[in-house]
């Protein structure tokens, strides 16, 4: 069922510092920052040959990564996003197996414009998983 690792998301307290680290110190290609008001984050993509790293900085009053950064003030790995071919079939398989889908259980539109779901970290070895249906 699991496809490619679409991205690994890292929450950071200071996006411009994180961009400088990835671009200048580590020598990677990074995108321009994009504000995603609906997601409460500003995001920069680090483009690697086989996948992406998403650097996430809180945006706005109620960012979903604010609590994570309170617990991890230096930043840290926030989630892994796996691609799936059929997100509703994936959801049904997972919930049948007893795994918990966050929110109301229905896919939302993710940062790339495709349907996404998040899965409860307690059901996946302490790791927040995102599933994204890619065309």
């Amino acid at each position: 069922m699991l496809g490619r690792v679409n991205h690994i998301a890292i929450a950071v307290p200071n996006l411009s510092a994180a961009v400088a680290t990835y671009r200048d110190t580590l020598g990677a290609a990074v995108s321009q920052p994009q504000i995603l008001p609906d997601h409460g984050v500003t995001v920069v993509f680090v483009e690697l040959p086989n996948t992406k790293v998403e650097l996430l900085e809180p945006y706005g009053e109620a960012s979903p990564i604010a609590a994570f950064l309170e617990k991890n003030p230096s930043g840290g790995m926030h989630h892994i996003c796996y691609e799936v071919a059929d997100i509703l079939a994936a959801r049904d398989r997972l919930t049948s197996a007893g795994a918990r889908v966050l929110g109301d259980g229905n896919p939302k539109t993710g940062a790339h414009g495709y349907p996404v779901l998040f899965l409860h970290p307690k059901d996946f070895n302490g790791v927040l998983l995102e599933l994204e249906q890619v065309p």
Copy 2:
């Protein structure tokens, strides 16, 4: 400088349970467990189309992931491994930029038999980074 994401490592308290989650619930291909006594871990590779997830369980008395699991009893994302073409050149570039290499600063032989180095999480947004020189 950064190449492919070689793997994403997840520390888990119970490897057989984690294998069941990835293989049966998430439907991914997983390897047989390998004990790596020199690294203090038992590892299973989750093979995805573009990269690998390494599930790590402590092995032996002084596992380097034991303290992490004490802090994160359910498990969690432990490190990201990036491939580099020349690990000594990478190290020199990073240390010139003020980043800290863990241990004595010299590459060790990693789980795949290639030279690896670990970088201090405080210098990389709270994320432990591994660099691996791949042929």
